[in-house]
């Protein structure tokens, strides 16, 4: 029966990890990495976030007793999930072991983030998720959705028009989000009132406020919190509930605001591809070279947490439009039209916080990020802002060479 019709499940059956049933591939824990960064941290309150990472993959569903939905990227409105009583978990992964596992399903020259996400998804915890949501941001994600669809319990695909310059698109975003919301309501058999969505928005807004405070404090006083702590904190918002995150972050904020800045540090803005634990390779390199990542414009920290939901009209339609204006319109991801947002944000941060230079981090094989870097480079050159472009992947091979380049860059900064 060579001409039997193809079903997506057929592909999944051919995959080793899937055919093995419930046995998930061995993904070595990241506990050594966590302990390593924990030791570097001089802060007490970061412990919570490190611990959260240690148990990230096991405890949430039991503790919360809630349905769990996983999603990729930044354009899935968490508030709608929260309003439906679902615990949202952002699955973006950058684990090199996961990437190796993903290699089997997605071979070839594909972005390692996509491979890692794929490999990570074979992990039991993810597979048992009630719902997987994938927005159509980059091509990799779109295909990933198809590949994972037989593996996941349930999958929902959000189509998002990517022209953010054209505001009429708000109507389409609204429609897509509304469709998504209706789907959630019927899947989880809930009927959230407007009040509940508003409450969820209040929670995420509190989170935004707290994040901004920390962001500004770090940018103004370099060295009060190292980049590892910062990204661990930001990344842990992927799976912590906003209320819990805000509570712990406010303790952290209190701790760091009492600290003194380290004088004489060169302040750097990190832009480009997402920095997701455990792939802190770029941070390791920058840290070793003695530069201080004071601000960032990446989607796993700044892009995710910096902007609030601002609701103009508290009608259901108004709330959903406001959500699309939080998640899609200001997106700095180069998959979207409107690179001026990224560039303006970089320029503004450099000016506002008196930063010394910009480092653009590009995960190898992500074309759009690389294309955007060219534009940024020429703009910054035109304005005499030092710029360094680093392209790398998850492997450790090029560490030495990158370190030399960063050191040279730091020397140039003086």
């Amino acid at each position: 029966m060579k001409n039997k019709e193809y079903l997506r499940e057929d592909y999944a059956k051919t995959l080793k990890f899937f055919s093995k049933g419930k046995d998930s591939p061995e993904i070595p824990g990241n506990s050594e990495a966590i302990e390593k960064y924990r030791k570097l941290s001089g802060l007490k309150e970061t412990d919570f976030f490190y611990d959260a990472f240690l148990k990230a993959k096991s405890t949430i569903p039991e503790k919360e007793k809630k349905p769990v939905a996983g999603y990729f990227c930044n354009t899935v409105p968490e508030e709608l999930l929260l309003a439906c009583g679902v615990h949202p978990v952002r699955l973006c992964s950058a684990d090199s072991h996961c990437a190796e596992c993903g290699e089997e399903a997605i071979p070839g020259d594909i972005c390692p983030m996509v491979k890692a996400a794929c490999g990570d998804f074979f992990h039991d915890f993810n597979r048992m998720m009630d719902l997987l949501i994938i927005p159509a941001t980059c091509d990799g994600r779109v295909k990933l959705a198809e590949i994972l669809s037989p593996v996941a319990k349930d999958i929902y695909f959000i189509d998002i028009p990517r022209n953010t310059d054209y505001l009429e698109n708000v109507n389409i975003w609204e429609k897509e989000y509304t469709k998504f919301f209706d789907y959630l309501k019927s899947k989880f058999k809930v009927k959230p009132a407007r009040r509940e969505i508003l409450d969820a928005c209040v929670q995420t807004n509190e989170r935004t406020r707290m994040y901004r405070k920390i962001y500004e404090a770090r940018a103004k006083k370099p060295g009060i919190m190292n980049a590892f702590d910062y990204f661990i904190m930001a990344n842990s918002s992927f799976f912590l509930s906003p209320a819990e995150w805000t509570e712990k972050a406010s303790l952290l904020y209190r701790e760091i605001s009492g600290r003194e800045q380290e004088p004489g540090r060169k302040k750097i803005l990190l832009a480009g591809s997402p920095v997701v634990f455990p792939n802190f390779k770029i941070l390791d390199i920058l840290g070793d070279a003695g530069c201080c990542v004071s601000a960032d414009v990446v989607c796993s920290a700044y892009g995710r947490l910096y902007d609030p939901v601002e609701i103009d009209e508290e009608t259901e339609s108004g709330i959903i439009r406001a959500l699309s204006l939080k998640y899609v319109a200001p997106s700095i991801c180069p998959c979207f039209v409107g690179i001026d947002k990224l560039i303006n944000t970089v320029l503004d941060s450099v000016e506002r916080y008196g930063l010394d230079g910009v480092i653009y981090y590009n995960i190898r094989l992500c074309q759009v990020f690389e294309m955007a870097s060219g534009v940024l480079r020429s703009v910054l050159k035109d304005r005499d802002i030092p710029f360094l472009f680093l392209k790398t992947d998850f492997s450790k091979e090029d560490t030495g060479q990158l370190k030399t380049r960063v050191e040279a860059f730091m020397e140039m900064l003086g």
């Binding site: 953010t164 310059d165 505001l167 708000v170 109507n171 407007r194 508003l198 928005c201 209040v202 807004n205 935004t208 406020r209 901004r212 902007d307 609030p308 601002e310 609701i311 103009d312 009209e313 508290e314 009608t315 259901e316 339609s317 108004g318 439009r321 406001a322 204006l325 939080k326 319109a329 200001p330 409107g338 001026d340 947002k341 303006n344 944000t345 320029l347 503004d348 000016e351």
Partner: protein, 342 residues
């Protein structure tokens, strides 16, 4: 939810203005001067043989005002004397110009009034519309009602808004033209029908007296012309209510009084400024703008973005989540700027 300081302040001012403009005549009982005496703002009177509003009785659709106003003046917002004790101001600027075109008043008597009008507009631009105009306040109440009922607002394309603006020019032009025409002595007999043509269909004429607890002239079917005006007035009232209910401030693109204010908007003392490098293009400003304007979103350079349609509600400044991106200035001095709400 997030604190809305500007909205709170604006609502307070709006309600104060509504109260003041409707019941002000009760509060300030100033003796009214009726002669064209050597006063800074001369009271203008109809010449012999010409018609004026006081010649109509209260039930008539051409009785847009109460008795004597406290101030013989014409503010740049849609108001008229609509309570029996006389309002604070005499009438709005459209009334003023129409009336005096008919009366063929000498320009030197008009000048002080016009100067005051222009000065107020020059200082505040169209700020009057969103902060003082009483029927705008009434309309905003309808908008509030819609929000409570969870009905989404209608968004209108730029072409539609421009169309309304052209319509507004037509209304204003026509009513001035008619007013001037019936001022010609040969055509004076038409005055009793065509006097103040815009007032006859103005929604303020129908709405505001209700607040003053008097009956507006609802209907007049005596002649063909008054019938026409009656029907037109109802139609306009219908448009007004529908526009405010579904379209937020879409009506204000059609209002001829707002149109006259809008001429001063660019270059007014109140300036809205944008620092584009801080903008993240979230589009919240456009989303929140009750007039549906887009300039503050689209503007890619730094500087002033006063638009003629802008009613200076400062909602865009309030909602913008970027610190210092949008700001409202008064002659170059910053009054408020956008920031993340606490």
């Amino acid at each position: 939810m997030n604190k809305r300081r500007i909205t709170f302040l604006r609502r307070t001012v709006q309600i104060l203005c509504l109260v003041m403009l409707v019941y002000g005549g009760y509060i300030f009982k100033v003796k009214h001067h009726t002669t064209q005496q050597a006063n800074l703002f001369p009271a203008l009177k109809a010449p012999e043989g010409y018609i004026s509003t006081t010649k109509f009785d209260r039930g008539s659709i051409l009785w847009p005002s109460g008795d004597n106003p406290v101030l013989e003046n014409y503010p740049p917002g849609l108001v008229c004397r609509f309570n029996p004790r006389g309002g604070l101001f005499k009438a709005c600027i459209v009334h003023f110009i129409s009336e005096n075109l008919t009366w063929r008043t000498s320009f030197k008597y008009l000048l002080p009034h016009l100067t005051l009008f222009m000065l107020l507009c020059f200082l505040f631009g169209r700020l009057w519309c969103r902060w003082a105009c009483p029927i705008g306040t009434v309309g905003d109440f309808l908008t509030m009602l819609r929000k409570k009922m969870n009905i989404p607002s209608r968004k209108f394309p730029a072409g539609f808004r421009n169309g309304l603006r052209s319509g507004s020019y037509c209304i204003l032009g026509t009513s001035f033209f008619i007013s001037a025409l019936i001022g010609v002595p040969h055509l004076a007999r038409f005055q009793c029908y065509w006097f103040l043509p815009y007032c006859q269909i103005c929604p303020a004429r129908l709405i505001c007296p209700i607040f003053g607890l008097i009956k507006p002239g609802w209907k007049d079917f005596e002649t063909a012309i008054t019938t026409m005006f009656t029907i037109l007035a109802w139609l306009v009232l219908g448009i007004f209510v529908a526009a405010f209910y579904w379209g937020r401030r879409i009506w204000c693109h059609l209002c001829p009084v707002g149109l006259m204010n809008s001429w001063f908007n660019r270059g007014a003392g109140v300036e809205l400024k944008k620092i584009s490098v801080k903008c993240n293009k979230c589009g919240l400003c456009t989303e929140a703008c009750p007039m549906g304007l887009t300039e503050m979103f689209e503007k890619k350079t730094d500087g002033v973005f006063n638009q003629s349609g802008c009613i200076m509600c400062l909602r865009c400044v309030e909602i913008c989540p970027r610190d210092g991106c949008l700001s409202a200035n008064f002659f170059g001095r910053k009054i408020v700027e956008s920031r993340l709400k606490k």
